[in-house]
Symmetry: C2
Subunit: 234 residues, 2 copies
Amino acid sequence: MKKDSTLPPPTLERLARLYVLLGKLQNLGLQAISSKRLSELLGVPDHTIRKDLSFLKEGQGIEPFAEKEKAGVGKPGSGVGRGYPLESLRLLIGARLGLTHPRTACLVGLGNLGVAILNRRIWQEGVYRLVAAFDLSENRLELLSTKIPLYHARELERVVRNYRIEIGILTVPPEAAQETADRLVHAGIRGIINFAPVVLTVKSNRVVVRNVSLAGELNILSAYLYQQEEETHG
Amino acid sequence: MKKDSTLPPPTLERLARLYVLLGKLQNLGLQAISSKRLSELLGVPDHTIRKDLSFLKEGQGIEPFAEKEKAGVGKPGSGVGRGYPLESLRLLIGARLGLTHPRTACLVGLGNLGVAILNRRIWQEGVYRLVAAFDLSENRLELLSTKIPLYHARELERVVRNYRIEIGILTVPPEAAQETADRLVHAGIRGIINFAPVVLTVKSNRVVVRNVSLAGELNILSAYLYQQEEETHG
DNA sequence: CAATAATTGTGAAAAATTTCACAGTAAGGA
DNA sequence: TCCTTACTGTGAAATTTTTCACAATTATTG
Ligand SMILES: NC(=O)c1ccc[n+]([C@@H]2O[C@H](COP(=O)([O-])OP(=O)(O)OC[C@H]3O[C@@H](n4cnc5c(N)ncnc54)[C@H](O)[C@@H]3O)[C@@H](O)[C@H]2O)c1
Ligand SMILES: NC(=O)c1ccc[n+]([C@@H]2O[C@H](COP(=O)([O-])OP(=O)(O)OC[C@H]3O[C@@H](n4cnc5c(N)ncnc54)[C@H](O)[C@@H]3O)[C@@H](O)[C@H]2O)c1
């Protein structure tokens, strides 16, 4: 009963980002692209990209479809139109990562960061549906003009349950982050993207948490810079 | 001439985040903590944490200090005060990652997101010095009240060079991101944290780029949720 | 003071991931 | 038609990273 549908985490994360890139390249009018070019754009070696892409083939059909197994994802050979066809590659990745049916999301905390996220174009693209945004301040709620439905934070549980919201984006002050996360989890959220500089404790191992930490990024960046410095000066 | 100062990237990134967590625990008044507890807080297995921490010992002193090599980073045994002493552990990690001397940073783009970052408490803590923030809009610059020095974007190169700014945080609209990155690199920046939904092309392999991508995070989260769903339903 | 309990540190084994190297493929000339 | 060129796809090797298992350590309890 071994589920072979799970991708290696590094592959999953690279594909998720590749998916974003492919969308942008399509908007540029491109038709196909080589692993070499993707490698330059993504900063990932080309053979790693090809290997990642090789995971897409596995569960493509239903089962032992037998005949003409050969069809790869990309087109070998030189000249135009060779490489990976943008559209079908994007479709395949989307299917493999479950990015085909839209997910519902909500945003909690409409301060500067929250509003920045509210304004993102991504909500107009149809893949992610921002169906609610919450804040504690009535004032704030009245001032904002947006098509996204706004609610007072006291409505959180009710709205999350009602709309079966899957993903919560947390942009509240650090003091309020843990409590808000608890409420989201309690209301049945399935994933949280946490922007607050706090280490969330989420008991349920069903809930996926991703942290976006400026301090973390700064430290990682600094550490890489430091290693560079060490190499150079000795 | 093998440089053994480079940490495995996963270890480096975990230590960088652990460093942030340790600061918070210290503020809570804690003195020491076990790898087991850290494991719960960080979502990383305890043996991985111990292994990561074991890298700290290597270059601790100057060189072959010989005598009493034994001293580990943490204190074994049960009872209070056992585990890793917060303060010294944090110091050690800081030293190993080069987080001891302050780094200079600048922020480009003072829209909603930029202002959110401008307001972060991290700039008051002394480890990172936000020495300049830029925007194109004179109006915007006049309206903002902050202790951080604000400049018009045309001053970018001059200011970055003058203050030898090491890290640039990019919060401009997507259309302006590549150009701004080019200017930062040209002015001698060493690292970029890019918040714009754009794939930056940076020729110099000296410059470290970290992308913070909401779309990427959403896709990764969705893909994990999808894998969960597959497991469950079969 | 001896036994207990909780904890670190680490070499070695296992597992995961990346890299390699090259056979196979097809477009676009020559 | 036959090279040449620029690709993909992949099994196997190499490398990296994680996991394991347990000896060593020490506060605390009985
Ligand atoms: N990770 C990053 O890159 C990053 C960048 C900037 C800011 N941040 C963090 O994001 C958070 C928001 O930053 P900001 O500048 O927008 O802050 P802000 O103070 O401007 O906004 C916070 C908003 O949350 C609302 N709020 C407070 N408690 C609430 C609750 N319990 N429920 C719902 N809403 C509540 C407030 O009314 C306010 O509108 C902070 O925690 C900040 O540290 C993270
Ligand atoms: N990664 C994330 O999590 C995340 C979240 C929210 C927003 N974003 C992105 O961050 C960026 C900023 O978002 P925002 O809501 O603050 O946008 P915004 O439009 O409110 O602000 C952009 C600011 O940049 C300034 N600007 C424009 N061109 C510039 C230039 N060449 N040099 C200097 N300044 C310039 C504008 O005057 C404006 O003040 C956008 O690209 C947005 O997509 C990312």
